[in-house]
Structure formats: structure tokens, C-alpha cells
């Protein structure tokens, strides 16, 4: 009797174990498309044995554990590359907007208006007494100054947008660190009874991946199964069940409300990208645009004030004169010149005050107009060029010799190269990431065919165990029939 009931128990245990294995397969199949899901497997183990008449008998099967096929190394690499990808994506999209602002390949670009400005001076030189030519010059100059003003304004706008982005991004960022901290707590509680909290871990890994998209992080799992998260520069974001919120205050980022800027600790990801754009890329364009505008004001005004208007008067400014230091822009510091540049009140509405004359201002005197027009091809101008690095903490500049056109074209070229580089990097990291995900999925991902095959395996085992129960039933019945 004891043996028969043992057979029944073994069969019942087999039914249970195979059911559990099927349950795991079902869970896998259900999550085939869940992002970040890690394939699980029920590990079957023989039950302990017992000894009867010096013979050892097995007691069937049990589910020892449900394990995850988790590839920690590849996952970490994916997280790192996610930061890089998001940083490039962010920069590429802003640069593409900056490119369209410049609209170099279309009409009415700054380069083209600058060319038209010089040509208008030539027209005045061809007919220095002509009112039409003078009025046309003022009109072209107005378009040019407005182009400078609007570009400068748009660049400022991008900087402001970056701050708005940071503000919004920070809410999401804080939510993520908070959730990671709370999952740490849940995993600690769940795993205190020796099991692995597979699904909670998947959830936390997904959040870590999301967080990597915001900023470059590094993390470490402690012996309790909780992760400590810090930025790659070493600022602690999550430790155990605790997280530290970041907040945007003006141009600074505070941690935990402490009024000290920690933005230098944030690199990579969208946050790092936005900060780089706000503090390096856009300020550099703006600074170089200022140099272009400032040089134009300085060169044109120097010649213009020395020339003679139709009235014979001299000393008129063409562009609004520089401010007195320390106010900017001044003759030595062109900061803000692109926003500042405008026609002076001397010539605005007074085309006769354009100093086309170089000796007397007689209506045929075109010497100064020729001189000013010749600035276009003056290759001896020295124009300062800025390089802004280290989030605006390192500013270096060098003097470039060449025409204003040369300088402008080099700005466009550099912008194009940077945008191209970002696009290419983005493509490269994207394909690298796809490759890495394949590697991770080769370990962690669910393959439906494989699961179906497994399912068949357990289905048959289940049927066989059921058969054993039926056989035991028959055995018991034959036993009962013994009278």
C-alpha cells in the first residue's frame, strides 16, 4: 500500500511540477513583446530519495527555482550606449534646426544679404549723388542688420528652450530615480525569502535603461540586491531606498535643494546634450556671430566717419556706434554686437548723410563708397574666433585673417561638419545598439518556437504523469477486488 501511494504522490508531484513549468512558458510567451522582459525558466530537480530495504528510491520531481536568463554585461553596455545615443540625437535635432535658421542654401541667408549690402555700396559708388541708390543701400543695410538681430535672437531662443527642456526633463528624471529607489526596497523585501524577484528586477533594469537616456550613469548592485546609482562623474542619485531630486534654478541645477550648481556632474544623455547645447554649442555660434557683426560695425564705421556726406558734413556713423566700456558691445569687446547692430540715427531716414565722398562730398564724389565696398574683398581683416568648451568654463579665441566672407563661410562649414558628425555618430550608435540588443536578446529574449517546443515537452510529461495516476487507479481497483 505504501508503495502505491508513493507512486500516486510522485505522479501528483510531476503533474504539479510540469504545470509550473508550463506556467513559466506561458509567462514567457505572454511577454514575448514586452520591452526589457527577461526570459525565465523553471528549473526541475529530483525530490530527495528514501531508503527501503537497503534500496534507494526517488520521490519524483520538484521545481527548484525559476531563474532568469540575464546578461548583466551586455545590459550595462546597452545602458552606456543609450546615454550616448540620446546625447547625439538631442544635438543632431537642435543642430538641424540651427542649420535651417541659417538657411544657407536658400535665399535671404545672412551670407546673401551681406553680399547684397556690399553690392549696394558699389551701386552708390556708380552714382554717388543718386537718391535712389542711397535709399536702396539703406534698405539693404536694414535687411542685413535685421538678419543679424533675428539670428542672434533665435540663438538666444534655443538657449531658453534648453532651459525649458531641462525643467521638464528633470521631473521625469526625478520620477525615475524615485521609482528605482522604491523598487530597491521591494526587491529587498521580496528576496529576503531566498527567491529571486525576476519581474521586479526586469522593471528596475528597464528604469535604469530609461535613466541612462537622460544622463550617463554607473550603477552597482549590493549584496542585498539593491542598486546604487550615480552619474558617471560620481554624483550619487540613488542609494538603497533613498533618491536625491535634482531641480532647475535659473541656469543652475541643484541637488536636493542645495544651492550649488551640479550641472557639471551631468554628462551624456538628453540632459548632458541639452547642457552642452546651452553652454557650449550655441554660445560659440553666438560669440562668433557677434564677432562678425562687431567687425562689420567697426570697419564700416571707421571708414564712414572719415568720409563726407552730400552736404559736405563728415563724422557721420553708418551703423549705431559702439557703447562706452564697460558696456558691450564696445570697440574692444564685440559681445552682443549681432543683437545690437542697427543703422545709426545719422543715416536712418537721411540717405543724404551716407558718406559716399572721400574728399568733399560733392555729388560725384564716390571715393569713400569705393573704399567701403572694397572691404568685401579685404583679406587683411583680423576677426576673432571663439572656441567654447567645458560647458562655457573654457573660452579660447584666436585671430583669423581673411575677408568677412571667408569668416562667415568657415562658420557655416564648421556648423555643417558638426551637424554631419552628430548625424553620423547617431547612426553609428544606433546600429551598435541594435547589435547589442540582439546579443542581449539571444540570451534574454523569448523565442516563440523554442517556447512552443518546450511546451510540447512538458505537455507530454504532464500526459504521462496523468497516465500514471490512471494506472495507479487501476492498480488500486484490482487490489480492492481481492476479497
Amino acid at each position: 500500500m505504501q508503495v502505491i501511494s508513493t507512486i500516486l504522490n510522485i505522479a501528483q508531484g510531476a503533474l504539479q511540477a510540469n504545470q509550473m513549468a508550463m506556467q513559466t512558458i506561458s509567462h514567457n510567451i505572454a511577454n514575448v513583446n514586452t520591452p526589457g522582459y527577461t526570459r525565465q525558466k523553471a528549473i526541475l530537480d529530483p525530490q530527495s530519495t528514501y531508503t527501503l530495504d537497503r534500496l534507494q528510491f526517488g520521490l519524483g520531481v520538484k521545481v527548484d527555482s525559476v531563474v532568469q536568463f540575464f546578461d548583466a554585461f551586455t545590459t550595462r553596455t546597452i545602458h552606456q550606449n543609450t546615454s550616448t545615443l540620446k546625447e547625439y540625437e538631442t544635438k543632431a535635432s537642435v543642430l538641424s534646426y540651427v542649420e535651417s535658421l541659417w538657411n544657407e542654401m536658400g535665399g535671404s541667408s545672412l551670407g546673401q544679404t551681406l553680399g547684397e549690402f556690399w553690392n549696394a555700396w558699389q551701386d552708390v559708388a556708380n552714382n554717388p549723388g543718386g537718391v535712389t541708390e542711397r535709399a536702396a543701400l539703406l534698405e539693404k543695410s536694414k535687411i542685413l542688420t535685421q538678419k543679424f538681430n533675428s539670428l542672434s535672437n533665435e540663438l538666444d531662443g534655443i538657449e531658453r528652450n534648453m532651459n525649458a527642456n531641462l525643467q521638464m526633463g528633470m521631473e521625469e528624471f526625478n520620477r525615475l530615480t524615485k521609482e528605482i529607489a522604491s523598487l530597491n526596497e521591494k526587491i529587498l523585501a521580496a528576496e529576503s525569502s531566498q527567491t529571486t524577484a525576476n519581474d521586479l528586477r526586469d522593471q528596475r533594469n528597464r528604469l535604469l535603461e530609461e535613466l541612462s537616456g537622460w544622463v550617463d550613469i554607473s550603477y552597482l548592485e549590493d549584496s542585498n540586491g539593491m542598486v546604487m546609482v550615480q552619474t558617471s562623474k560620481g554624483m550619487l542619485l540613488v542609494n538603497g531606498a533613498q533618491n536625491w531630486d535634482l531641480s532647475v534654478e535659473g541656469n543652475s541645477i541643484y541637488r536636493n535643494g542645495v544651492p550649488s550648481d551640479v550641472s557639471g556632474e551631468l554628462t551624456g544623455g538628453k540632459l548632458g546634450g541639452w547642457l552642452d547645447i546651452r553652454d557650449e554649442i550655441i554660445p560659440q555660434y553666438a560669440a562668433n556671430l557677434d564677432e562678425l557683426a562687431g567687425t562689420l560695425i567697426q570697419q564700416v564705421n571707421t571708414l564712414h566717419t572719415a568720409g563726407y556726406a552730400l552736404s559736405g558734413g563728415t563724422g557721420f556713423f553708418f551703423f549705431q556706434n559702439f557703447l562706452t566700456p564697460p558696456a558691450v558691445p564696445n570697440a574692444a569687446d564685440f559681445e552682443g554686437a549681432a543683437a545690437y547692430i542697427s543703422l545709426s540715427s545719422d543715416v536712418l531716414g537721411h540717405p543724404e548723410n551716407i558718406a559716399a565722398g572721400g574728399v568733399s562730398g560733392e555729388p560725384g564724389d564716390n571715393e569713400n563708397a569705393l573704399n567701403i565696398a572694397a572691404l568685401q574683398t579685404d583679406g587683411t581683416l583680423t576677426i576673432r574666433k571663439w572656441v567654447i568648451e567645458d560647458r562655457g568654463r573654457t573660452l579660447t579665441s584666436s585671430l583669423e585673417t581673411g575677408t568677412l566672407d571667408d569668416y562667415y563661410q568657415s562658420l557655416i562649414g564648421e556648423m555643417g561638419i558638426l551637424a554631419e558628425e552628430m548625424n553620423e555618430n547617431q547612426d553609428f550608435v544606433q546600429s551598435l545598439l541594435t547589435r547589442l540588443e540582439e546579443v542581449r536578446d539571444s540570451v534574454s529574449g523569448v523565442n516563440l518556437d523554442e517556447e512552443l517546443a518546450e511546451m510540447m515537452k512538458f505537455q507530454h510529461a504532464y500526459e504521462a504523469a496523468s497516465k500514471i495516476i490512471a494506472v495507479v487507479d487501476e492498480m488500486l481497483q484490482s487490489l480492492m477486488q481481492l476479497r
Binding site: M105, G115, G129, G364, Q409, I412, M415, L448
Partner: protein, 296 residues
């Protein structure tokens, strides 16, 4: 290597994204007809094309300046030819009268004619173009030449200045389009010669008439020299204009080569991308057909 079901679909998705992006780029190229639409498409070519375009715009302006110069030179040529004729005509009269005593009537007639020639010469010196006096130097708003009488002596005074009108015909290259009246007229002694001839005829002073005849001969030569000087500058412009229009054409070609799409190649490439895209879609459909489920 195991392949997860998700990987299969992700692979297809990625290649469809990539192909559709490339397809879009090719379509942009074909529809805009431009090889690049923004600096990042090809920074080196964009900067090159900006340089070419700016050169092109400059050359077009120089061509415009040369047109202005041409108008001035043509005007100068016509006027100076006329003036040379006036001087020659006056010299004719001087020659005629120097060959012996003439009647008072003939002399009176000659005096009147010389006086008119003087008026004519002054009028030519005061020629206007577009409302500007072309021989006044920079003073284009005042008639450069006027008769005046001071201390009973008749005279022609120059009211312009000593500057020549320049046009820019190339980078760092200007050309004198109009010389001032001081150089063109006053230095020729034409006005003084006519005045003195008139006086000499009125005085019936044979020696003085002969003297003035020589002066007027010099004036004629002087103006002829001026005309050929203008001619030299005209041919300089003509050569320059030819160079520029050729240069302009070359630049235009370079810009076209650089910027404009080679349609036959672009359309071929577009076709290739379309095919690749269709193949990817077909593969996607095929993959979803394959499953163990079909056999269970």
C-alpha cells in the same frame, strides 16, 4: 546564437527605418534637384558652393559697374570727338584768315563764328548724363564751364574740381571712367585759344592769328589724344567684360555641377533604394509566416 522572436521583428523594423530614411533623402534630392539642401549634407561642398556663389555675385556686380563705366566712356568719346571737330573748325578759319588781308565783313563773320564755336565748346564741356555734369570732377551738380569777364578780359572759368570719377571693375582694381574738366579742357588751352583767335581776327593781327592757329592745332591733337585715351580704356573694359562673362559662365557651370543633381544617376539610385525597401517589406511578411504553430 539564439535569436529571440523580438529580434527578428526588430531587425526588420530597423532596416525598414533605415531604408525609408535613405529613400526619403533620395526623394528630397530628386524633387529639389539639389545634391545638398543643408550644410550637414556635405559641408565641404556647401562651403565650396558658398564661395562660388559669393564670387558669382561679386562678378555680376563688377559687370554692372563696368556697364556704368561704359556709359561714361561712350559719352566721353562722343563729346571729345565733337570738341576735336570744333577745334579743327576753328583752326580752319584761322588758316583761312592768315593767308592775307580780309575784308572787315569777312572778319566780322569769322569773329561771330569763332564766338559760336566757343559757345559750342563750352556747351560740350557742360554735357550732362543722367542730370550729372560729366566734366565737373566730383562737382557734378554745377556746370563746370562758364564765361566770365574780369577787368575787361573775357575768360572761361572752370567751376569743377580736379578729381576723376572711378568705377570698380575688379577686386582691388578701379578704372577712371571720367576725367575732370581741368585735365580734359583747361589743359588743352582750347578756350583761351578760341578767345585769343577771336581777338586777333578782330584786331586783324596776322601774326597773332597764325600763333593761335598753332595753338588750335595743338588743341585738336590734344583732343584726338583724349579720344584715343578713352578708346584704350574702352578696349580695356571690353577685354575685362569678356573675361568676366567667361568667368561668370565657368562659375555658373561649377555651381551647377556641384549643386545640381545628376538625374539619370539619382533616379537609378532611387530605384535601387525602392527595390531594397520592397525586399525588406517582403521579408517581413515572409518571416511572420514561419512558426512552429503551423505544424502543431
Amino acid at each position: 546564437m539564439r535569436v529571440a522572436t523580438q529580434s527578428l521583428y526588430r531587425g526588420i523594423q530597423q532596416s525598414i527605418w533605415r531604408l525609408s530614411r535613405e529613400l526619403k533623402k533620395m526623394e528630397d534630392k530628386v524633387s529639389s534637384g539639389k545634391n545638398f539642401n543643408r550644410p550637414s549634407d556635405n559641408p565641404v561642398a556647401v562651403v565650396h558652393s558658398l564661395g562660388l556663389r559669393s564670387k558669382l555675385a561679386r562678378i555680376e556686380q563688377y559687370q554692372k559697374n563696368m556697364d556704368t563705366g561704359q556709359v561714361w566712356l561712350d559719352m566721353n568719346e562722343t563729346v571729345l570727338n565733337q570738341v576735336s571737330k570744333v577745334a579743327a573748325r576753328a583752326q580752319d578759319i584761322a588758316l583761312r584768315l592768315s593767308s592775307g588781308n580780309q575784308t572787315a565783313e569777312v572778319r566780322a563773320m569769322a569773329v561771330s563764328e569763332i564766338d559760336q564755336l566757343l559757345d559750342e565748346a563750352i556747351a560740350l564741356g557742360n554735357t550732362q548724363s543722367n542730370g550729372k555734369y560729366i566734366f565737373g570732377g566730383y562737382r557734378t551738380d554745377v556746370p563746370p564751364f562758364a564765361r566770365s569777364v574780369s577787368g575787361g578780359v573775357e575768360n572761361v572759368v572752370y567751376q569743377g574740381d580736379g578729381n576723376d570719377f572711378q568705377v570698380q571693375i575688379g577686386p582691388d582694381e578701379t578704372m577712371t571712367a571720367g576725367k575732370n574738366g581741368e585735365t580734359v579742357f583747361m589743359d588743352s588751352d582750347l578756350f583761351a585759344g578760341l578767345r585769343d583767335l577771336k581777338q586777333a581776327i578782330a584786331d586783324n593781327d596776322q601774326t597773332a592769328i597764325e600763333n593761335q592757329s598753332a595753338v588750335l592745332q595743338e588743341a585738336t591733337d590734344y583732343f584726338n589724344a583724349q579720344v584715343s585715351d578713352v578708346g584704350i580704356r574702352q578696349s580695356r573694359l571690353k577685354i575685362k567684360e569678356e573675361i568676366f562673362s567667361q568667368f561668370n559662365l565657368q562659375l555658373q557651370n561649377q555651381v551647377d555641377d556641384l549643386e545640381n543633381v545628376d538625374y539619370s544617376r539619382a533616379i537609378l539610385e532611387l530605384k535601387e533604394k525602392q527595390t531594397a525597401y520592397e525586399v525588406a517589406l517582403a521579408a517581413a511578411a515572409k518571416i511572420s509566416e514561419v512558426s512552429l504553430l503551423n505544424y502543431l
